[in-house]
Amino acid sequence: MTPHALLFTLAAIGISETTYLIQKRHLGEKPVCPINISDCHKVLESKYNKTFWIHNDVLGLIFYITVAILTSLIVIGIHPVNLLDIIVKLLIYIGVLMSIFFTFLQWRVIQAWCTWCLISALTILLMTVIVLTSSLV
């Protein structure tokens, strides 16, 4: 139960964060970036802000919602629990690979750091640690 609660909590934090970024983008406003304002916007408005024509914040939101829903279904006991567990793990492994790639982009290509992107990367990294250090089902 505890790993699921932690995964769900992290996914919910991710949903809240990506929703904020999407809302700000739709309103045409710049999000508040706690550490370095200009760097944050440089990353969010770069040509790398989309993957396959979909904004990365939207992809992130889909990822977090899927993890939250699947984790909930596992906790409630909707079958097949084992299959759902495998899907959650796969999603998180794909997510962490993408996060590493995006962090690399910020570091070496864009050469600017975005606080929200780093928080998201940390969230997914923590999810990976939870999955690796616990047997979920």
Binding site: F8, T9, I13, I15, S16, T19, V32, P34, I76, G77
Partner: protein, 115 residues
């Protein structure tokens, strides 16, 4: 900015609590129905299990709205009203004592977000 940040931290924290409680109730509605005071059972419009499932759906709805920051004052008001109901229905015991803190959090969110 700090004031804004503390609002969002409270909002997300309360949202996660509502969502997770809703999920736990859906996992075991019968177990959770044990918290309903016996005197109230005759007044329930639904069976205790169905009442708990309805409660779980309400919790998840409130939690989702708070999480995505939509209809925030309405959601926090409904959340506060729901917690008052829980305290009346269940009484204040070792489990529900923390609902007093959640109620205070919901009222804070309501006051902060109402325009």
């Amino acid at each position: 900015m700090m004031r804004e940040a503390s609002f969002h931290i409270l909002r997300v924290g309360i949202a996660i609590t509502f969502l997770w409680i809703g999920i736990l109730i859906l996992k075991d509605p019968q177990g959770w129905s044990g918290y309903i005071q016996p005197w109230l059972l005759d007044f329930l419009p639904l069976t205790p299990d169905h009442m708990m499932i309805s409660t779980a759906i309400l919790d998840i709805t409130v939690g989702t709205l708070l999480l995505i920051d939509k209809l925030t004052w309405q959601a926090s008001l409904v959340g506060a009203a729901h917690l008052v109901t829980v305290l009346i229905v269940s009484g204040i015991n070792s489990v529900t004592a923390r609902d007093i803190g959640l109620l205070a959090g919901c009222l804070s969110l309501f006051i902060f977000s109402v325009k």
